[in-house]
Structures are given as C-alpha cells and as structure tokens.
Subunit: 282 residues, 2 copies
C-alpha cells in the first residue's frame, strides 16, 4: 500500500483539478481513457458503497477514493470503510470533484475502480436461468437502467453484445444505481459468439421484438417462459436487426393493449424479465 492509504488529515492540501492523479482520473470519463487504463469511475455515495462491497467480496478492486471535504464529512463511515480496506483516500477541491463528475451536481465522492466485466464464460457460470443481452444498445442511460432491472429481477448476468455502449460509461454506472457491481457483466463484441455461448449454457434465446407475431403472455401460458432464458434486447432507436431475430430461438413482443406504439427499452425489459422470473419461480 502507498503512503496514501489513510484518510485525509487536517492540513493536507486537497488535490486540485491540475493535480496529476486527478488529471489521470479525469481521463477515465472518456472511453478511450478507460480502455487504456483499465479503470473506471464510480461517483456518489451509493455507487462508492457498492464498489467497496464488490471489492470486499474479491470481485474487483477500488484503487482510490477522491472526496471533497463536505462529502467526506457527510459520509464518515464510507470514508472509514475505504481506509479500512486499504483504499487511498484523497481530499479534492470542489473544482476537482466537478472535473471528475459527469453530472450537473457533482456528489464530491468518486472511486477509481477496476473494470466490472468478466469473460463471457465466467459470467454464465453454471446453472444460469435468466440472462439479459443488450445487443447494440448505444444509450448509456438505457443500458444502465436495464442492468438495474435485470438485477432486480434476479437475472444471473447481463451481456453487452455487438457494438454496445461501454458498461463503465458514467451515465450507465449511474443509471444502474450500483447494480453494475451486483451481477456478472460481460462484453462480447461478436454477438454470434455470445449467442453460441448462451446456447451452450442451456439458455433459450428469445428476442424482445415489438414486431413479433406472438406476445409474451401467450408464450407464458404455454409454459415457455419457465425455461432457462436469455432475453435479447435491441437498441431503443432501431430495435433488433431482422437477421439477429431470425437467428434466435423465439421472438416475443410485450402486448400493447392501448394506443401506444411501443414501450421504451427499460420498461419493455422490466415486463419481459419479470415475466420470466415469475414463471421460473412458480
């Protein structure tokens, strides 16, 4: 451990936005910087708490915690937990915290973490029953919200497949409200490879497709949703490409009973994943 694995002490000059460690951390707000450093930022008390629990469980590592004076005094137990875990905690100015923040109202607490994603086969492990696959989902807020929904529905993993957003994107981490630290996340640039691995793991691949002829209630009544299932979701803007849908085991839509044309990605995912979770538990 470095000489920094201690809480900031009165008299320590806080890091500014020009301090090299802050400058280095700021690069992690960009995908290229994250890819290069193999680290990402988790901002806010809740995310930092989840990151520390994730590291304590041996699933990853928190390299550093930056805290403004105000944030540190508001979250004394969190800072103490970090120090106890051997995480260097550094005081930063409000301006430095703002430089590290991707929100309009910086929370003054930012952890530098190792990536959460694991290899595909590790994410699927043994005895997986429910997986969410985000295929080509580019919007980080949508992706993070689906990670949260998948976590709530008890999914075993979330796979970011094809040309999808980086799960470590600040907006994705924030929208997940800590869930990126809860369940295994894997990235598979080659979606077909991911589908093959999911099939090998015994999962039925079901496209969530607003244009599918059959809806999930009909499929559920037939008992289909009780099977181990990987739900494949497309981007909100374009949905799933036809060639992807055609290659999966089934395609189901959420029934639309009223006048809306469709649901958004996160609400559709909530209905699909909860329908499976319930059928599997019945």
């Amino acid at each position: 451990m470095s000489g920094n694995d201690r809480a900031p002490r009165p008299g320590d000059a806080p890091f500014t936005e020009r301090t090299p460690r802050v400058v280095a951390a700021k690069r992690l707000t960009r995908r290229s910087g994250r890819d290069r450093a193999e680290r990402f930022l988790a901002e806010g008390a809740q995310a930092v708490r989840e990151a520390l629990a994730w590291a304590a469980a041996g699933r990853g590592r928190v390299h550093e915690l930056f805290a403004t004076e105000v944030a540190a005094s508001r979250n004394p137990s969190l800072v103490r937990d970090a120090v106890d875990a051997g995480v260097p905690v550094s005081a930063v100015t409000d301006k430095a915290a703002a430089a590290l923040s991707e929100t309009v109202t910086p929370q003054g607490l930012v952890a530098v973490c190792s990536p959460v994603d694991v290899p595909l086969r590790a994410a699927l492990g043994s005895d997986v029953r429910l997986v969410a696959v985000l295929h080509g989902v580019a919007d980080p807020g949508n992706a993070g919200t689906v990670v949260r929904v998948a976590d709530a529905a008890g999914a075993d993993a979330v796979i970011f497949a094809g040309d999808a957003v980086d799960p470590h994107n600040g907006k994705c981490v924030r929208a997940s409200t800590g869930s990126v630290f809860h369940l295994p996340i894997a990235r598979a640039r080659d979606a077909e490879e991911a589908f093959a691995a999911l099939r090998d793991a015994g999962l039925r691949l079901v496209a969530a497709d607003g244009y599918a002829p059959e809806d999930l209630v009909t499929a559920d009544l037939r008992g289909d949703l009780a099977a181990p299932t990987a739900w494949v979701f497309g981007s909100e803007a374009h949905g799933l490409p036809d060639e992807v849908v055609d290659g999966l085991d089934a395609a189901l839509k959420v029934p639309i009973y009223g006048g809306a044309e469709s649901l958004n990605l996160a609400t559709a995912a909530a209905v699909c994943l909860y329908a499976s979770a319930r059928a599997q538990r019945a």
Copy 2:
C-alpha cells in the same frame, strides 16, 4: 378560420424568434405561460401527428403549427393534414424553431395545442378498470414515461395528483411519445379528492410501495389484481408518503429477486400495470 389556414408559400418570409406569434408561443415552454394561455406545445413529427388525430377525434384543438422549411419538406403529408384540418401553418426560421424547442436537437415542427387534461370525473367515465395515479411526481421525463406505459398497458386514465409536474411540460409530452393524446389525463391538486373519486368509480386503490410487506405476485395469485384497480405511484426520489399509503386499500411492492435496492418509477409502473392488465384479461 384566419387567413393563415394555409401552408406556407414560396416567398412567405418565415417567422423569426422575434415575431410576436413565436414570442407568444415561446412563453408556453414555461408552466406559468401555459397556465395563463391554456395552451401547450407538442414538438416533433410524431407528437404533431398524434395531436392532429386527437383534434380530429374532437378531443382537443390544435391552434397553430410552426414548421421550418426543412421539416415541412420532410413531412409533406403532416403539413397537408394540418392545412386540411384548418390549422394555420406558419413557416419559421431554424432559430425560431430552436426558441420553441426544449430539446438539444430541435425537430423543426411545433404545434400549439389546447390542454389535454379533462375533469377528474370525465377521465374516469364509466366502466374504468385500470388507472395510473402519479402522486407528487415531479420529474417530467418519469411522468411522461409512465403515461406511455399506462397507455401501452391499456389503462383507462392517468391522474396527476397532488403537487405533481404539469403533464404539458415539454419533457413529459416528449417522454410520452404521443400517449398524452391517447388516454384521458386529469389533474387533481387535492389528492384526497382524487382518491375519493377513484373509489366512487369502483376502483381499488393500491399503493406501489417498495417497502410494502406484500408483493404483487402474491396478491395476483390470490386474484386481487383482477379487480378494477387504481395503482398509485409516488415520486422516484421519495416514494409515497406513509400517510398516503395508509389511506389506500392495499400496498404492494414489486418483488426484488436480486441485489438491486429498488426499481425506478417507470419500470416499477410497467411491472405493476402489466400485472393488472394481464390479470384483468385472463
């Protein structure tokens, strides 16, 4: 009809952001302006199309349509429909369109509409089976997304109760993707009055409450969700106040099977409303 109920013609000078009619319309981007004028703005081709259909059905009125040259040439049938319906269509500059827009990328099409909300008793009508109540929901994007979900789930009405966001807020209208024009919307500043009216309409009032001891799957298995139901949702930040929950007929949570603390408002509403819709149709 005024001399303006015609499409813009070549040679017409487009309205600028200083043209009085544009200045007046811009005031509708603020709640005070909307309340005073009793009009609101619907932006983008989809929203304008839904607004024209809503007006054609005799449910409201589109007073005016502003269109940039590019937007008009991209949506010729929409402009023609507006003209055919006697709606004055005025060419505006890109800058004027930006002034009327609440988005980063103005769509160049903005309709001035009469309010969508109707009196509470009218919204409930006869034979209502499923209603969504937004209690004190302040975030317009969340509120609009719930309106969209309620519409998709076939709800009969959405009630904005207590100190809630204005359903005509630009972000709410946009997040609803046209659904504010589909199903009856009512505003009830006095939430207790709304609850009384909902009970009179034969609805069971159920709080969606993450802290409720019972979950909706258990209630559904008992047959409770098949009854005519008004789901009451609180704000994402604070949920429902205890005194509101205590005054309702039941409180149910969405079961959390994994590590997430909670669902966000829209995804929770999707699970709740779809559970009722399905139970009522079974």
